[in-house]
């Protein structure tokens, strides 16, 4: 703030100083939070506790005889030892593997995961050379997750950022409650995909099940195949040239661009007929009247 003296600032807390001087910013990639500038703080990663890993240093972890908790703890130990590339062998459909990784890491899973795999992550690049069960990458903040085979339902539920890719087909309710990021599916998706979607983009190269985009607030869904039916307040929009450029670029990134191009994709957005943010609730109206 103009005219604010150092003496006046000296009596404030660090947070007050940053706020008074307008030296705050909202971090939207990764964890959504208010960042206050602090000249005394050491330079750090997004998470102060995140280990600094070396991608050239690799390790292999056999999950066959370990519980999910033991596997996840071992991944953390290896990261603190500086391992930037970790390969997990024999996951055998166990649930909750590879969750809560909040920094850079190359994680390769050789096999298939059960439920809630790779959830709550912020930054790692993950490749699953198998299939994933329900709710893969739930609440993902940033990074990339590539699933080489099929995925179960609620794929990418509530993700906020990053790219989540499935080369095969996915189950129902893909991207439910999605708040950002991109979900890319090479095959088909089931019913109610994009249900209550709030932000971000989804690309389905194959067909979409019934009630696509039901009650979506915002965001965009692209479908290369047929759509069984649209959900409440989901409407078709014009596929612009810019959309096609973006689609092609995004699909090329993962080697998934159709040979015939992307001009045939259908674009679905929110009709915004359910938006009533400015309307008063009946009880509030009664108070005013």
């Amino acid at each position: 703030m103009e005219g604010m003296s150092d003496n006046a600032l000296a009596g404030m807390t660090q947070e007050q100083r940053a706020e008074t001087l307008g030296m705050t910013s909202e971090q939207l990639s990764g964890r959504s939070m208010l960042i206050e500038f602090d000249p005394d703080a050491e330079p750090n990663l997004a998470y102060p506790w995140a280990p600094d890993v070396d991608h050239g240093k690799s390790a292999t972890l056999d999950a066959d005889e370990l519980t999910a908790t033991q596997v996840n703890e071992r991944i953390r130990e290896l990261m603190h030892e500086g391992c930037g590339t970790i390969t997990v062998l024999n996951p055998r459909g166990k649930h909750g593997l590879g969750v809560g990784i909040l920094s850079r890491l190359n994680l390769v899973v050789e096999g298939s995961l059960g439920y809630f795999g790779i959830g709550l992550i912020d930054g790692p690049n993950v490749r699953v050379n198998g299939r994933v069960g329900w709710s893969c990458a739930e609440n993902m903040m940033a990074g990339t997750v590539i699933v080489e085979k099929n995925a179960g339902s609620t794929f990418g539920a509530a993700i906020r950022g990053g790219d989540l890719v499935c080369r095969g087909s996915v189950g129902s309710r893909t991207g439910i409650d999605m708040k950002g990021g991109t979900i890319i599916v090479g095959g088909d998706t089931g019913a109610l995909s994009g249900f209550m979607m709030q932000r971000g983009r989804m690309i389905f190269c194959g067909n979409a099940g019934k009630n696509l985009g039901d009650s979506m607030y915002d965001g965009t869904i692209f479908v290369g195949g047929s759509i069984r039916s649209l959900g409440v307040d989901a409407v078709e929009a014009e596929l612009t040239e810019l959309d096609q450029h973006w689609l092609k670029r995004k699909l090329d990134l993962y080697g998934m661009a159709p040979a015939e191009g992307v001009a045939h994709f259908t674009k679905i957005v929110a009709g915004r007929q359910l938006w009533n943010y400015d309307n008063l609730e009946p009880a509030e109206k009664k108070l005013i009247l």
Partner: protein, 311 residues
């Protein structure tokens, strides 16, 4: 929550007892209250296997008197079998309260079954040429050990690990359910049926019997009703998508078929592996991995999907 599993070998007999135990044990976390099997063996032409429950497991803790009661019930069953001119080829106890009969009977099996169930405390768990139904409290390893299922060989099986939510923790409410009076038809289910009472009353009006208050039993009775009206299993499964309300995934096994149906919301999980010689389905991938160690491709069947496979 509950866990369901099924597998069917195409054109061969395998150790389906131990395979189903491995699958259900992997699903133990989905339901620790009871475990049930419907396993399908080769059977002998003209012979029926009848599995009976003479008491609930919890009854056994009520003193020595229960043993005398069980003996009375057993005698009553034997008398009814004699009355129906049934040739009892073998009879053995699996547990103190569970019996397995091998019988030959040329008469009306439904009439005989209804007569047996008039004996207070007796329930026929299954009756069929190839079906044997085993269900009890505890996990798969416990039940399999008690009923010596590891040695069972056959073509296909379905199973269930139960988390009791809407009815009691007892054998009566455990899955699978036999589609009385249809020989060799069994059902396992994961979900909630919201028009259970309406449909149950409709089925009761049509003369079908219910042994429990568990909504899953409706699917067995409903399937039996449709089959008795001449429908195929596939037709019955498709009809159920339209007529049964709620969220459900269920499996049906007949003498030589395994079928599945998933509700309109696809709200209950099912993972499917399909190859030329084996089909395996389960609520979770981990159960399929318990019997197929090598890397395989699996899929989630979609909403309103029905499938039937033949042995």
């Amino acid at each position: 929550m509950c866990g369901i599993a099924g597998l069917i070998h195409r054109g061969k007999v395998s150790g389906v007892g131990s395979e189903m135990t491995a699958m259900l044990q992997a699903l133990k976390h989905r339901g620790p209250d009871s475990t049930g099997y419907a396993v399908y063996g080769s059977g002998s032409p003209g012979d029926y296997v009848m599995r009976l429950k003479l008491a609930e497991q919890e009854d056994m803790g009520r003193g020595h008197g229960i043993h005398a009661i069980i003996d009375q019930r057993k005698d009553a069953v034997d008398a009814i079998l004699a009355e129906h001119h049934v040739d009892v080829k073998s009879r053995r106890h699996s547990t103190d309260y569970a019996l397995r009969y091998v019988i030959a009977h040329a008469g009306d099996t439904e009439d005989m079954a209804r007569h047996i169930e008039e004996v207070d405390g007796v329930e026929i768990l299954s009756l069929g040429n190839s079906l044997e139904m085993i269900k009890d409290l505890g996990d798969a390893a416990t039940v399999s050990s008690a009923y010596e299922l590891d040695d069972f060989r056959g073509t296909h099986a379905i199973g269930h690990t139960r988390m009791a939510t809407e009815s009691d923790v007892d054998i009566r409410s455990a899955h699978p359910y036999w589609a009385f009076p249809y020989n060799d038809v069994s059902v396992v289910h994961n979900g909630q049926l919201t028009n259970y009472w309406l449909m149950r009353r409709e089925m009761e009006r049509k003369g079908h019997r219910f042994m429990s208050d568990c909504d899953s039993e409706l699917l067995a009775v409903y399937t039996a009703h449709n089959l008795s009206n001449g429908e195929t299993l596939e037709q019955s499964l498709q009809r159920s998508i339209e007529e049964i309300d709620g969220v459900f995934t269920y499996l049906v096994a007949t003498r030589d078929e395994l079928g599945m149906a998933k509700d309109t919301m696809a709200a209950k999980p099912l993972v499917l592996f399909e190859s030329d010689d084996l089909i395996a389905l389960a609520s979770e991938e981990v159960a399929i991995r318990a019997v197929i160690p090598q890397e395989i491709d699996t899929v989630d069947p979609y909403d309103e999907e029905t499938r039937v496979w033949k042995a």
